[in-house]
């Protein structure tokens, strides 16, 4: 009994401490100064999961940040400032993301922009970042950002419902499947695909055979896999990050008599972490034969691609999570490509606006991204900086292709179909026509 009382007292003390810490964190972040000390390095904050089930995302965004800032610094930086990256771990959980965001504003007086903010935490952190009047390029597909206006929010990746339509369009018009199963993770970012996918399957006249939710922290998914196998789908639409898809798909293969059921993934499955875990679990050649994904059209060669490729090559040894195989995957991964473009757009906007204050330079992101009449097209930070120095208007088109921002600062892009080679290289397998895409909306 006395032990119980001691436990009770300890818990009460811990609770008081925790509440105190939360109050302190909450009070520490009401304002942000945009006064940057002359010549001080400007910080790009990578606010993303570095631990937890989506831990791989933060590291890949960091690779993109290092590549972009190294290229910028090689060309003299931005308005006399060197660029640098800082990381803030959200653990992929809003409960951890909010304190991490507050810590970011409390500890980084020279913050220039934020990248990351995935679907795991965007709903919680975007309003905070916006209230601090800080430009952010977010990797979220959540549909609420299609119609809620945050002046400092920018997005170069499609809303999740667009991706759902693209996946169903691939299933119906490119692969000619009629029976579809859904298997998405139970995280916020993955679940947003489910509703639009079900609607789209119905609209397309296809059959939804099973819809299973995968708990990303679970240890096996055999019953879920058997549910899917017994429903006899021709294809599984999926996004379950961490080790979940690897475990689930290996169990599907086993329970389907050793034969893999084809898979259509979201663009988030085009990542080195997803590839290596799933290829390890079901076999690289099996994955290559049975997997496609929707992805935004990205350059794989040419003047838009070369500066990005060179920048990534320059930093590949600085990023621990990257080996040569995963670098090849990352070169087509949305996390690397579109954030690289976002950072270049923001940096060039600062130069154009002659200010590092987000309130001043944010509108120039739209001008440089969408272009104005007579603008010179540039494909790198260095080219853009040189043209701006000549007093020219510029339009930046990077590896992610041309942008077209709407009034909510979303630039949804055009979809293509990607796959993997057995070595993990991303292959462009075709496109999705506008007519096919609209037919399943």
């Amino acid at each position: 009994m006395s032990g119980f009382i001691r436990l009770h007292s300890s818990l009460r003390a811990a609770a008081i401490l925790a509440v105190g810490a939360i109050l302190l964190a909450a009070c520490s972040s009401t304002t942000t100064s945009n006064k940057i000390t002359s010549g001080a390095p400007l910080v790009i904050a990578d606010l993303a999961p570095f631990t937890g089930v989506d831990a791989a995302l933060g590291g890949f965004y960091e690779a993109s940040c290092l590549a972009a800032t190294t290229a910028m610094n090689k060309d003299g930086g931005v308005l006399g400032h060197k660029m640098t990256c800082a990381t803030f771990d959200t653990r992929g959980d809003p409960a951890d993301a909010v304190p991490a965001t507050n810590q970011m504003f409390a500890t980084e007086p020279h913050l220039a922009m934020v990248i990351g903010c995935t679907s795991d935490e965007a709903a919680s952190v975007v309003p905070i970042i916006n209230s601090h009047k800080m430009v952010m390029f977010c990797m979220t597909g959540q549909s609420e950002f299609d119609h809620v206006h945050y002046p400092y929010f920018f997005r170069l990746v499609p809303p999740d419902l667009s991706e759902s339509y693209a996946m169903v369009a691939i299933a119906k018009y490119i692969k000619h499947y009629t029976r579809i199963a859904l298997a998405f993770g139970n995280d916020i970012g993955s679940q947003t695909f489910v509703g639009p996918a079900i609607q789209s399957i119905k609209k397309a006249g296809l059959t939804l055979t099973a819809n299973v939710t995968l708990d990303l922290t679970a240890n096996t998914f055999r019953t879920e896999a058997e549910t899917v196998v017994q429903s006899h789908p021709q294809v599984i639409l999926t996004e379950a990050l961490g080790s979940a898809d690897a475990t689930f798909l290996s169990e599907v293969k086993q329970l389907n008599g050793g034969t893999m059921i084809p898979v259509i993934g979201t663009s988030a499955t085009i990542s080195p972490a997803w590839y290596s875990s799933v290829a390890g679990a079901i076999g690289a050649s099996t994955l290559a034969q049975n997997y496609v994904a929707d992805n935004l059209v990205t350059a794989t060669s040419g003047p838009e691609f070369t500066p990005f490729y060179d920048a990534m090559q320059a930093v590949k040894n600085q990023v621990k999570s990257l080996d040569s195989g995963s670098l090849a995957t990352l070169l087509s991964g949305p996390g690397a490509v579109h954030l690289f473009d976002g950072m270049n757009l923001a940096a060039l906007a600062m130069i154009m606006a002659k200010s590092t204050n987000p309130s001043v330079y944010k509108n120039d992101i739209l001008k440089i991204g969408d272009g104005v009449k007579g603008a010179v097209v540039v494909h790198s930070f260095a080219q853009g900086k040189a043209e701006l120095a000549k007093g020219k208007a510029i339009r930046y088109i990077g590896p992610g292709g041309p942008t077209s921002f709407d009034s909510y600062h979303d630039s949804p892009g055009i979809f293509q179909v990607d796959g993997y080679s057995p070595t993990g290289q991303v292959l462009v397998l075709g496109g999705i026509s506008t007519a096919d895409y609209r037919a399943v909306q």
């Binding site: 032990g3 001691r6 436990l7 300890s10 570095f50 631990t51 937890g52 089930v53 831990a55 791989a56 590291g59 139970n186 299973v212 939710t213 995968l214 708990d215 922290t217 679970a218 240890n219 096996t220 998914f221 055999r222 019953t223 879920e224 058997e226 549910t227 017994q230 961490g242 080790s243 690897a246 475990t247 290996s250 169990e251 086993q254 329970l255 008599g257 050793g258 080195p272 972490a273 290596s276 875990s277 799933v278 390890g280 679990a281 621990k320 999570s321």
Partner: protein, 292 residues
């Protein structure tokens, strides 16, 4: 019906992996008086060691790698107990304090693995063997091997506890360490050997857990640790037979639940049953108060 039977089979596999881990945890708790939350991280550390051994060459079997993982698990458990938990216990730290220390060890080991090895997931190089269907159950050769391995360990542990001097000494130490010492049992040595034994079980369970998972990372065992605790407390802390029964109940009910309710809530029924049983028998089903 066929999905129900299949889920029972899947539950048996989960229960087998869980039983090896839960029995090790329970015996360790019985002998050391530590609710060792770092157990899950030692499991994963052992799974990583098995992976590195498995990757040494194409001929290195995962079953051989499992032996190396058992050695690592044994040593790591011994070191943690001897140099972390025991000093705190000697200073008279309350049990709840030791639990917090073990939570700290869990995080330290997990984050160290993540810092060294990265956030990616790994898979063993191994064949799953043929898939066998029997009376509605669908199991691969590897899963049958895991069930067989678990049965062997359970029987082996039973024989050890019942019929060997060391087993009896462990039971006596768990029942009352002071009395056991006064009876001439070298309890410090018993604790050391028990840590090695349960650590080895921890290493083996980590490897079977990773085999069963197909793909694992540094934090993969987080939820599994909760299932281990549930199995242990369902059967009665310190009760290896209780842990076996607890593992069976938790493992099977979890998988069968996924047939009837949304799969991401499949752990809920198992924990509801845990709460109900603990409400009726607060010290677990096997509440004799000492090992065995």
């Amino acid at each position: 019906m066929s999905l129900f039977l299949a889920s029972v089979g899947f539950g048996l596999v989960t229960a087998s992996v869980l039983a090896i881990a839960a029995v090790g945890f329970s015996v360790q708790f019985g002998v050391t008086d530590v609710i060792n939350l770092a157990y899950g991280s030692v499991m994963i550390a052992s799974a990583y060691v098995a992976y590195f051994v498995n990757q040494l060459g194409p001929g290195v079997s995962i079953w051989l790698a499992m032996l190396v993982a058992a050695v690592l698990g044994a040593l790591l458990s011994l070191v943690i107990n001897k140099y972390v938990y025991a000093p705190f216990q000697r200073r008279g730290m309350a049990p709840i304090g030791i639990v917090i220390v073990s939570l700290g060890m869990l995080l330290i080991i997990e984050y160290t693995i993540q810092a060294v090895q990265g956030t990616g997931n790994l898979s063993y190089t191994m064949s799953q063997g043929p898939t066998l269907t029997f009376a509605g159950l669908i199991l691969s050769g590897v899963q049958l091997a895991i069930i067989g391995l678990s049965v062997v360990f359970m029987v082996g542990l039973h024989l050890l506890l019942r019929y060997t001097r060391f087993g009896k000494a462990m039971r006596a130490t768990a029942a009352d360490r002071t009395l056991a010492r006064n009876c001439g049992i070298r309890t410090d040595r018993v604790v050391t050997l028990a840590c090695l034994l349960t650590g080895a079980l921890c290493g083996i369970s980590g490897t079977t857990f990773a085999i069963n998972l197909g793909s694992f990372g540094a934090t993969s065992a987080d939820l599994f640790l909760v299932m281990i605790l549930a199995a242990v407390f369902l059967g009665g802390p310190g009760q290896p037979y209780g842990a076996m029964l607890g593992a069976l109940v938790i493992g099977v009910i979890t998988e069968v639940s996924a047939v009837f309710i949304t799969a991401d809530y499949k752990y809920v029924p198992a924990f509801v049953i845990l709460l109900v049983i603990l409400a009726v028998r607060p010290r677990g089903i096997f509440n004799a108060g000492a090992i065995g």
